[in-house]
Amino acid sequence: MLSLRGIHTYYGAVHALKGVDLEVAEGEIVALIGANGAGKSTLLMTICGNPKPRRGSIELRGQNLIGVPTHNLVRQGLAHAPEGRRIFPRMTVLENLRMGAVASDPAHFDDDLERAFTLFPRLKERRDQRGGTLSGGEQQMLAIARALMSRPRLLLLDEPSLGLAPLVVRQIFEIIKEINQRDGVTVLLVEQNAFHALKLAHRGYVLVNGTITMSGKGADLLNDEQIRAAYLEGGH
C-alpha cells in the first residue's frame, strides 16, 4: 500500500529524517512510536509532501508520491488527521466534515455523513456547533471523522490520544479498530502512547532521532525489553 525508501527530510539545516524505510501493507494497522521530537509528525507530513523529502522515494499503491501537490493526495486515497487535530475553529462541525469531502463525489456525501455520525454520535449532537468550541475529545473525533469523509484507502493518524482522558482514549482506539476491520481502511498510526498503539497494531516501527531503530509485530515489540524500558514503563 505505502512504501518509503531512504527518506531524508530537512527543516533548513535541521536533518529531521535520516534515511527512513517503512512499509504499510493493505489492510494493516501499523504503529509508529517514538519519543517527542523523534520525527514522527515529520514523517507523516513528508508523505503528504509538506515538507518535501530531499532524498528517497515514496510510493502509494505503486504510484510515486514525490512531487504530487499536497491537495491532490486525497484523490489518491490518502487522508491525514495531523498533529494537533487542526479543526477549522470558526466552522461548524458539519462544515468541517464538508471540508473533508471536498475531493469526493457529492453523490455519496449523505451516506458518508451518516457513517461518520454512526461512528461518532457525539458529533451529530454538535453538528451546528463551531469547531473551536468543542472539547479535546470531540475535536479528535471530528478530526478522524473529517479524514474519513474522503473515503480514504490509507489513513494517517498523528497522536489521536494526546491530551485525552483514558476513557476517551479507549473509545478512539476502538473506533480506529472498527474503521480498519469494517471499512477496510489501512492505518498508519503515530503514537506516544506506545502501549495502546502496539496492542492495536499489526506491526510497529520505532523511530529514534530520525532513524528507524526497530520494527516488528505489535505484540513482539510490546514484549521487547528495550521498548518496555524506553516507552512503556512510566511512559504512559
Partner: protein
C-alpha cells in the same frame, strides 16, 4: 432635518462604493494576512476601463443605457479581475513564505507601478464622461430645501446591496466560500483535505478586484471623471473602512464603508469639506483606541 436626510442619502451612496472596495482589502487580509496596497489601483483600473468602454459603446452606437451599463460592468469586472489575478501571481505568490515585510513592499511597488502604467498608457489628464443617468425622485419638500435621491444613487445603493447579499451567500454557503474560509483558518489543513489553496487565494483576489471594478464603474458614473490618481485616496479610505469595521471581517467591511461614507458626507455638510478626508481617519484612530480589532473584528488571540 431635510438637509440631514439629504446628506444621509449622499453618505450612503459614497459608503456603498467604499464598502465594495473595502471587501477586497478585508478578504485578502483574511486569507493571506497582508494588506494589498495595490487594491486602490485595481479600483482605478476598473474606473478607467469603464470610461473607455462607455466611449467605445457610444461610438458603436449602443445608446440604450441599461444595456450599456450591463456590458460595461461585465467588461470592467472581467478585465479588472484579470488584473487582480495577475497582481497576485506576479507580486505576491513568489513571496509567499518569506518574511512578512516582503509582500508589503511588493504591494507598494505594485501600486506605484500600476499608477505609472495607467498614467503612461492613458495620459495624466482627467478623463470626463458624459452624464448618462439623469433625474431622480423628490422625496420631501421643505422650506427652501428639498430631499432628492437620484436614479443613479438608487442604482448604486441597490447594486451594492445585491452584490453584498450575493457575496455573503457565496462565502457562507458555497464550496468556494468554504474553501476560502478553510484556507483562511488553516492553509496546510485545507490543502491536506484537497483544497488547492493557491487557486483559492487567486480567486479571492479576482473576486475582490471584480467588486472594486463595480465600484469603479459606479464612481465613474457618479462623478463623471477619472484620473490615474483616484485609486490612492479611495483605496486609503476603503482600507480605513476595512480596519474600522475589523479587518478580515466581511460584515465589518460593509459597515466600515457605510460609516466612512456617512462621516465624510456629514463632515463636509456641517463643518468643512476641506478636512473631510481627515475626519474619517480621525474617527478610525478613536475607534481603534477603544476597539483595537475594529467594530466587528474578532480578537487576534482567537486566530489559529
Amino acid at each position: 432635518m431635510e438637509y440631514f436626510l439629504q446628506q444621509t442619502i449622499n453618505g450612503v451612496t459614497l459608503g456603498a462604493v467604499y464598502a465594495l472596495i473595502a471587501i477586497g482589502y478585508t478578504m485578502v487580509y483574511g486569507i493571506i494576512g497582508m494588506i494589498n496596497f495595490a487594491h486602490g489601483e485595481i479600483y482605478m483600473i476598473g474606473a478607467f476601463i469603464a470610461v473607455i468602454s462607455f466611449s467605445v459603446l457610444g461610438l458603436a452606437g449602443v445608446t440604450w443605457v441599461p444595456l450599456a451599463l450591463v456590458i460595461v460592468l461585465i467588461v470592467s469586472m472581467t478585465i479588472t479581475g484579470l488584473y487582480g489575478w495577475t497582481v497576485e501571481r506576479v507580486a505576491y505568490r513568489p513571496l509567499r513564505g518569506s518574511v512578512r515585510l516582503a509582500p508589503l513592499i511588493s504591494a507598494i511597488g505594485m501600486s506605484i507601478f500600476l499608477q505609472n502604467y495607467v498614467q503612461i498608457a492613458q495620459g495624466a489628464k482627467i478623463k470626463p464622461l458624459q452624464p448618462m443617468i439623469r433625474g431622480g425622485v423628490r422625496l420631501m419638500e421643505g422650506e427652501g430645501f428639498s430631499v432628492n435621491v437620484s436614479y443613479l444613487q438608487l442604482i448604486i445603493i441597490a447594486m451594492t446591496i445585491a452584490l453584498m447579499a450575493g457575496f455573503t451567500w457565496l462565502i457562507a454557503a458555497t464550496s468556494l466560500g468554504r474553501a476560502q474560509r478553510a484556507t483562511e483558518q488553516d492553509r496546510v489543513m485545507a490543502s491536506l483535505l484537497g483544497v488547492n489553496t493557491d487557486r483559492t487565494i487567486s480567486l479571492t483576489f479576482v473576486l475582490g478586484a471584480m467588486l472594486a471594478a463595480v465600484a469603479g464603474v459606479l464612481v465613474t458614473l457618479y462623478y463623471g471623471v477619472v484620473d490615474f490618481y483616484i485609486g490612492f485616496l479611495a483605496g486609503l479610505k476603503a482600507f480605513t473602512a476595512a480596519v474600522l469595521g475589523g479587518i478580515g471581517s466581511l460584515p465589518g467591511a460593509m459597515l466600515g464603508g457605510l460609516l466612512i461614507g456617512l462621516i465624510e458626507s456629514y463632515w463636509s455638510a456641517y463643518f468643512s469639506s476641506e478636512y473631510k478626508d481627515v475626519a474619517a481617519f480621525s474617527i478610525l484612530v478613536i475607534v481603534l483606541i477603544f476597539r483595537p480589532t475594529g467594530l466587528l473584528g474578532r480578537p487576534e488571540v482567537e486566530k489559529v
